[in-house]
Amino acid sequence: MSFERLVFYTFAAILVYAATRVITVRNPVHAALHLVLAFFTCAGLWLLLEAEFLAITLVLVYVGAVMVLFLFVVMMLDINLASLKAGFVRYLPVGATVAALMLLEMILVLKSKGFDAASMPPPVRHAADYSNTRELGSVLYTDYVYPFEIAAVILVVAIIAAIALTLRKRGESKMQNPAEQVKVRREDRVRLVKMAAETRKPAESED
């Protein structure tokens, strides 16, 4: 077994383990952490495929930013685990049957002659000085400038949609208005009241 193969199988095994743990552990924080492990291992596999840029982006964006945000959300939300687990056993036979059938169908198709190694040769390896990042950069703003711009528009729509759907005035939310706060005058907060002086009666002070 070559070293590369050893690395691949190690990473693949860790990936499968991590992915399984994501959906089986009870604690949502542990699940999120296993997802981090799955992403990280996946990035390792992508490195083997000579996709260095994508591998690093996966680590930076997903592990570094998305999953950290996700952990915050998981920790802030009070997730009811019991309701999430409810019905798992009831749906298990149907789910397992569907999954098994799909697996069988995929095996049948992928094992057919059209998909064997002869008709799908492995891609050519690149030299050591080949830069994946440079290749991506050279086409992203030229050949693919139109799709790139549409992707940007999609992000704009995502922002507009998120704000349009969530921004609203709620009665129960407590917020401060600094402009109103600094404009406040003494008269608004303090009221001097004239009243007659009171003297305590001795009987009341007893108890």
Partner: protein, 478 residues
């Protein structure tokens, strides 16, 4: 290496719509609620000028731009203008509906314009990447529009269903596209067609075609991938249902054309059988289940499913006549659908949606003109001459008979006859039942004018279908 200046000229309609959507977004921030109508008029002006720009840029030639990711051809020009027209109707019908329910916000029109931009991208796509991105731009805007009335539970539920199933469909489509890329080594639709044309269909190719067809069927709402259609149609606010049911169907047709006919046209024998199954099931389930509905929006949803069946019939024939018939069908269907949902909006008022069939009881006594318009729309959907629905169905059936599939045409006619029942039941309810609700109809002049024009267009196109049909034939030949 930068794109040629001519590329930007071809892209002008998209650039204009995008810029105007951003302008409206910003202008709307500074408007008070009383001036909100300015956003609406800006959106309508955008559509008008976009149509002018599209018509002046399109010169009847097929031109590629941006390294083959964008195409400006007669089909794109025609479909874009049809999309502007239907979107303008959708915006018009939505205006009073939204303002009566305190939903009149600039975001509605901004999201509508972005959705329309997605349709334009889809219509002009010449690369799998552009097809996918256009689809996502369209879908994302639509998800947000369905959830627009976020305090109403049915809207949120419909949006959730639409989102989850839409994501699933995108996944299917993307998987098919990645397989196609693996087989041909290119994303360019023309190069894919060239590459596939040289080989005989192999297992992986059919595997690929299956995923693409399933993804498309999900998006079109063809049986058995139709589950989301009734729930989304019923749950979404009526103007949004109108928009989904009319304009986005034209874009979906363009997507089917670009993906099936233009890129994997060489695999037509493989996907023909799949489309036959989808079309037959859609016609059967759509028409039969619609009979059992009491909610008009839900009934129209099942009616959409059966119309999608007809659309697929034209495409599966794989001939130019078939494609042209399908194009004619989808453009006229979009007009009919806009009109039918527009009628629901006309009858509705704040706190009353008028989306039950019983709400149309005795419409003839309340207002005979709008009862007549609804009659024209329903007859057109059922395919009764002299409305355009008859001619559209006839053209599709001719195309199917043209490729010697008489049995399929016979089945389509049979299911249309079954389907005629529920359209005519609505006519019966309008003319022969006693009105329970005698509130006068909404008085808005623009809404009434738009609906009248829409209904009469259905009748006029039915009497003189020649020019639109010729246009569709020319577009497909060119």
């Amino acid at each position: 290496m930068i794109p040629a200046p001519g590329d930007f000229v071809l892209l002008l309609p998209e650039i204009f719509v995008l810029s105007m959507a951003c302008v409206i977004l910003v202008v709307d921030l500074y408007l008070s609620d009383d001036e909100r109508v300015i956003s609406y008029w800006l959106a309508q002006l955008t559509l008008l000028f976009a149509a002018v720009i599209t018509l002046s840029v399109g010169d009847g030639q097929s031109q590629l731009a941006f390294y083959g990711t964008y195409i400006a051809d007669p089909m794109a020009t025609t479909l874009k203008v049809a999309i502007y027209l239907v979107t303008a109707l959708a915006f018009l019908y939505a205006r009073h509906y939204l303002s009566e329910r305190k939903l009149f916000k600039g975001e509605y029109y901004v999201l509508g314009l972005f959705a329309m931009l997605g349709m334009m991208v889809l219509v002009s796509a010449h690369s799998l990447l552009t097809v996918y991105l256009g689809l996502e731009l369209l879908s994302l805007s639509l998800y947000a529009m369905v959830a627009f009335n976020r305090d109403a539970y049915p809207c949120t539920e419909a949006a959730m269903k639409y989102f989850v199933l839409g994501a699933l469909a995108s996944g299917m489509l993307l998987y098919g596209m990645s397989m196609l890329y693996g087989l041909t080594g290119t994303l360019d639709i023309e190069l894919i067609a060239q590459s596939l044309g040289r080989q005989t269909a192999t297992g992986p190719m059919i595997f690929t075609a299956t995923f693409i067809v399933v993804g498309l069927a999900f998006k079109l709402g063809a049986v058995p991938f139709h589950m989301w259609v009734p729930d989304v149609y019923q749950g979404a606010p009526t103007p949004v249902t109108l928009f989904i049911g009319s304009a986005s169907k034209i874009a979906a047709f363009a997507m089917v054309m670009r993906l099936l006919a233009e890129s994997i046209g060489a695999l037509q024998p493989a996907w023909e059988g799949m489309l036959v199954a989808l079309a037959l099931l859609s016609l059967a389930i759509g028409n039969v289940v619609a009979i059992a509905q009491t909610n008009l929006k839900r009934m129209l949803a099942y009616s959409t499913i059966s119309h999608v069946g007809f659309l697929l019939l034209g495409i599966l024939s794989g001939t130019q006549a078939g494609y042209a018939a399908s194009m004619f069908y989808i453009i006229t269907y979009a007009l009919m659908s806009a009109g039918a949902f527009g009628m629901i909006i006309l009858l509705s008022r704040a706190g009353f949606e008028a989306d039950e069939i019983d709400d149309f009881k005795g419409l003839n006594q309340r207002n005979s003109w709008y009862a007549l318009l609804m009659l024209i729309l329903m007859f057109s959907m059922a395919g009764v001459p002299p409305t355009v629905g008859f001619y559209a169905k006839l053209a599709v059936l001719q195309a199917v008979v043209g490729v010697d599939m008489v049995w399929l045409a016979a089945a389509a006619v049979l299911f249309s006859v079954i389907g005629a029942f529920y359209y005519i039941r609505l006519v019966k309810v309008m003319y022969f039942d006693q009105a329970e609700d005698t509130t006068p109809l909404a008085e808005h002049f623009d809404l009434r004018f738009g609906l009248s024009a829409n209904g009469l267009a259905i009748l006029l196109l039915g009497l003189f279908p020649g020019s639109l049909m010729n246009l569709c034939l020319q577009v497909m030949a060119g």
